[in-house]
């Protein structure tokens, strides 16, 4: 909080210093007080915002200028966790200076609890006595842990990203523009993290976050006549100040091999990495209303964090017995991208576009051979295991032709070919041909009809079954599985829309969209996904003082996937263990808005939003024993009312009321116990950061003061 105050004051100071001597100034500040209640402490209500209680500064804007020199300072949610402050200083059109500071909160839960203490950054500890008790008396694990968890303290589960951006833009001479910009993102807080010590010993803990991302770019452009050139040189770095997470195993106070595992486990958290990048772009205006742009970019990604040991379980002999193949990953990748586009309008009513886009992620990470692994710090799994430097590239060729048929209609066609390569995947090459058309008709003034359709047909070049085999040549994955990101696919993408302006007062529109991916050559895996949406909107200007608007949206997503159970070590390829899931996810969305300028001084507005989602899981299997899962349901009502009263020229008062109601039914994220299952032998310790139904009421009184 104190840092935020300092930053805000510093910006205000800069403004004051930069303000020209003989100035004109204007501004506006809105402040007030707010109170709110919530029936359950559900975090969703404040997921990305910090709702104030008591006094607050909602927004402000201060502008000072003298001729062509001006400074603007504006911001919102002053001194709260979602505050933003911006400074714009312009010295004519030759020099411009912008600074932005914003905070983005992300609240996960207000009801989570954890028995762990963070005794050092990333080191999560349990009382030794607890571990010893559980080790010595495993039969009492459930009762011991239940007692502990019931008295566990609340756990903070939220993080905040503070983003500071500074930008200087200069136009030093005719045709020249140079821009330098830098961004610093600081992320700190916590989030849930799952740590496994075995299939029946999963522990969810609070992961500390302390990260810094820095980005800097210098962009220069020059324009003369029909030629434009632009170059960009930049760098980026990510630093994680918590490199590893060490978590005590609740079941053990001493290390052992196998069984319940070690006293403490360790995992690696996101490694530091760096990027250098550059690009050059050329734009040309050619005769016959033809424009060409060509861009080439290259970037180098590096990551060389030291490897942690295979395990910190001292019962597993290492590192002398199992040395690591190297000290660090020596991971690097080069990205090369290029784009070429030509747009031409050689004759009236005709537009043609040719485009080529290429992107290559060349992963040059050293491939190392590991003698084995200790995946959950419990026991050594004999290797060798080799890491793979997955890379990929895609090249897209496209042509678009558009023709205006008179002034009331237009038609267009698109042809596209997308070629991809995937390094070290079961499919290393595929290609998709896309054919599309669109039409737009204006049968009468105020009425527009439009539609489009695209058909894509993606075919893989060769399927490599050996990619599904282990080192001994045994199949470990079903031969019939085709992963949807590289499988043969037929795609239909269609839209139809109408918009209608009825007189001067009514505007209405409706739109339907369909996206269907059909993987009909995949015996196992995703078979089909289909998304349909209908949206309608209308606005009605009842008179000069009253405006009404509203909309309705309906979405339906269906997926169908096929699978096969093979529970043993050796793969079973038999139809008798086949199973499948058909998922239907329905969404309804409604919004209404009414604005009434009741008098010159009084205005009223009301808004209502409703959204509902309902997902149905239809499970089936060959033996006809599959039992469907419960539906997942959520519903949100959101109402706000506002009255504004203008007092004199400079003052305005506002009163607001907000109502929000959220209902949820979710088998995975609702009623999450701290120890699970609640009966029988426990297999997991959770944070209990569950979703909850809630109802919230919020009232606010605000005043706005404008000057001069």
């Amino acid at each position: 909080m104190s840092q935020a105050i300092v930053r805000t004051l510093a910006l205000a100071g800069v403004v004051a210093l930069a303000a020209p001597a003989a100035v004109r100034a204007e501004g506006e500040v809105t402040f007030g007080g707010q109170a709110w209640t919530q029936t359950a402490r559900e975090a969703l209500y404040q997921q990305y915002r910090d709702l104030p209680r008591g006094g607050f500064l909602e927004s402000f804007i201060l502008r000072e200028w003298n001729g062509t020199t001006g400074v603007t300072l504006f911001g919102a949610n002053g001194l709260k966790d979602d505050q933003s402050t911006s400074l714009r200083a312009a010295f004519g059109s030759r020099l411009r200076f912008d600074v932005d500071y914003g905070q983005i909160p992300h609240l996960f839960s207000l009801v989570a609890r954890s028995p762990y203490s963070e005794i050092a950054p990333g080191v999560l500890s349990l009382p030794d006595t607890l571990q010893r008790t559980n080790q010595e008396n495993p039969g009492a694990y459930v009762s011991t842990m239940r007692d502990l968890l019931n008295s566990a303290p609340g756990a903070q589960l939220d993080f905040r990203t503070d983003v500071t951006t500074a930008r200087v833009r200069s136009r030093p001479a005719a045709g020249w523009q140079v821009e330098a910009r830098g961004t610093r993102r600081m992320r700190s807080g916590t989030k849930p993290y799952g740590m496994a010590f075995g299939f029946s010993n999963v522990v969810e803990v609070v992961e500390p976050i302390d990260q810094e991302m820095l980005d800097g770019d210098v962009i220069g452009s020059y324009e003369k006549g029909r030629v434009r050139v632009q170059a960009d040189l930049g760098a980026s770095s990510f630093e994680n100040r918590v490199n590893a997470l060490r978590v005590d195993n609740p079941r053990r106070s001493t290390d052992r091999v196998g069984g319940d595992g070690p006293q403490t486990g360790q995992t690696d958290l996101y490694p530091d990495n760096q990027v250098m990048r550059g690009s050059v772009a050329l734009g040309l205006q050619l005769p016959r209303r033809t424009a060409v742009s060509a861009t080439v970019g290259v970037s180098e990604h590096r990551q060389d964090d030291d490897w942690l040991p295979y395990t910190i379980n001292t019962a597993i002999l290492q590192p002398d017995t199992f040395p690591l193949p190297a000290a660090s990953a020596d991971a690097k990748a080069t990205i090369l991208n290029g784009d070429l586009r030509l747009v031409s309008r050689p004759v009236e009513h005709f537009t043609g576009t040719l485009r080529v886009n290429h992107y290559k992620y060349d992963n040059k990470t050293t491939e190392s051979t590991f003698a084995g692994q200790v995946p959950i710090d419990v026991s050594w799994t004999v290797g060798p295991f080799e890491n793979h430097a997955f890379g990929h590239q895609r090249t897209s060729f496209g042509a678009d032709l558009d023709y205006d048929v008179g002034t009331r209609a237009g038609v267009g066609v698109t042809l596209e070919r997308n070629q991809r390569e995937h390094t070290l995947r079961e499919v290393e090459k595929d290609a998709e041909n896309v054919y599309g058309g669109r039409v737009r008709v204006r049968p009468r003034d105020g009425v527009v009809l439009d539609g489009s359709y695209r058909r894509g047909d993606r075919k893989l070049d060769e399927f490599k079954l050996e990619d599904y085999e282990d080192a001994a040549g045994q199949l470990v994955e079903q031969a019939g599985l085709r992963r949807y990101d590289v499988a043969d696919r037929k795609r239909d993408d269609a839209t139809v829309g109408v918009s209608w302006l009825i007189g001067d007062r009514i505007e209405a529109s409706a739109r339907y969209g369909l996206l269907r991916n059909d993987y009909d050559d995949s015996p196992l895996g995703l078979q089909e996904e289909k998304q349909q949406t209908v949206t309608t909107e209308a606005t009605l200007a009842v008179n000069e003082r009253v405006n009404l608007s509203g909309g309705y949206g309906y979405g339906l997503a269906n997926t169908d996937q096929a699978s096969r159970e093979s529970s043993g070590a050796v793969l079973v390829q038999s139809d008798t263990t086949n199973w499948g899931v058909e998922l239907e996810d329905e969404t309804v969305f409604v919004f209404l808005q009414a604005d009434w300028q009741a008098s010159e001084k009084l205005s009223l507005s009301a808004g209502y939003t409703f959204s509902r989602s309902d997902a149905v899981y239809d499970l089936s299997n060959f033996k006809n024993t599959a039992q469907d899962l419960p539906s997942v349901f959520s519903r949100l009502h959101d109402l706000h009312l506002e009255a504004r009263y203008r007092m004199m020229d400079r003052y305005e008062l506002a009163a607001r009321y907000f109502f929000e109601e959220y209902d949820v039914t979710d088998f995975a994220n609702e009623d999450v116990p701290l120890l699970s299952p609640v009966t029988g032998s426990a297999n997991a310790v959770y944070l209990g950061d569950e979703l909850q139904d809630y109802r919230a009421h919020r009232v606010a009184l605000l005043a706005t003061y404008r000057f001069p």
Partner: protein
């Protein structure tokens, strides 16, 4: 009498001639610049907001004022509001111009940086133009002033046409656009880019990794579809699943992983308390699903 008729007729003819000759050069002559003050009497609201706005304070714009975009206004001003006067229509009114001409007016100044790829952009091809999103004379709100937007914020501008996204943003799992902490233009440049779907990066992953640099790697152990495209698993515009996932776990994971042992198991109603279905499902254990740098991280458990 005869002389008076001749005289009168001659007078009228001469008068008519003088009138015609007096008007003819006026309608044929090119309009000239008269300065913004000439606009003020009839268009005071526009004049005031324009001059107080970003454009009015720029050197070039301030010098030529309204005529920077509307063209020389001498004949329009000379018509004094008379729409039948041929001079009235000599002013350039962007509302009546083809989209390309509106854009070319703005691109006299805005041709580099953000607007470098405008000519090649999909918006330009689909005849969207600057004034569909920007209100040159004054923004719709104090917050929209920095970009002279025609709606209170950037999201509202985009939703004018991209209406399917409004419903997606209303879903439980969404990025902070509803709350105003993000804007469509944080990820997309509506003026066009060299990347796909007007992204502000050459690929989806490079864009996402701008903020999520912890997922950038490269990692010792890569998850191939993650490395290739975040959209294989996430729907950034909104989803009914946790973490804006495109499907609910474990079935999302089981679209690709049905290997021997537990990945291929059918998790149904009797398994509701299993740690492979409850809470974060597969990622209860496979926490490093975006990639691992741990020597024992092959299956993203560490």
């Amino acid at each position: 009498m005869k002389r008076s008729v001749v005289f009168t007729a001659s007078f009228l003819l001469l008068s008519l001639y003088s009138l015609v000759t007096a008007r003819a050069p006026a309608s044929q002559q090119a309009p000239t610049e008269v300065g913004s003050e000439a606009c003020k009497p009839c268009h005071e609201t526009y004049y005031t907001s324009f001059m107080a706005g970003a454009h009015g304070r720029r050197e070039e714009a301030a010098r030529n004022g309204c005529e920077s975009c509307h063209g020389p206004g001498s004949l329009h001003a000379g018509a004094s509001g008379d729409e039948t006067d041929p001079g009235f229509a000599t002013i350039r009114n962007p509302k009546k111009l083809p989209p390309e001409e509106v854009a070319s007016t703005c691109r006299q100044c805005h041709s580099g940086g953000e607007q470098f790829y405008w000519d090649q952009s999909r918006h330009a091809r689909e005849r969207v133009t600057c004034t569909n999103c920007h209100s040159i004379h004054g923004a719709a709100s104090a917050q929209a002033k920095a970009k002279l937007l025609s709606k209170p914020d950037g999201v509202q501008v985009c939703l004018q046409c991209h209406r399917d996204k409004r419903a997606k943003l209303a879903r439980t799992a969404h990025m902070p656009l509803r709350e105003g902490a993000m804007d469509c233009s944080d990820c997309h440049n509506p003026h066009g880019t060299a990347g796909p779907t007007a992204l502000r990066a050459a690929s989806v992953n490079e864009l996402c990794e701008t903020c999520h640099a912890d997922k950038r790697g490269p990692f010792t152990w890569e998850h191939a579809p993650v490395r290739e495209n975040c959209l294989n698993c996430h729907d950034p515009h909104g989803s009914n699943n946790d973490k804006v996932l495109a499907g609910k776990r474990p079935y999302l994971c089981q679209r690709c992983h049905i290997a021997t042992r537990h990945p291929s198991t059918l998790y149904d109603r009797p398994d509701l308390t299993a740690n492979r279905l409850l809470n974060r499902s597969c990622t209860n254990c496979h926490s490093q699903i975006h990639g691992s740098n741990h020597p024992s991280g092959k299956t993203f458990l560490r």
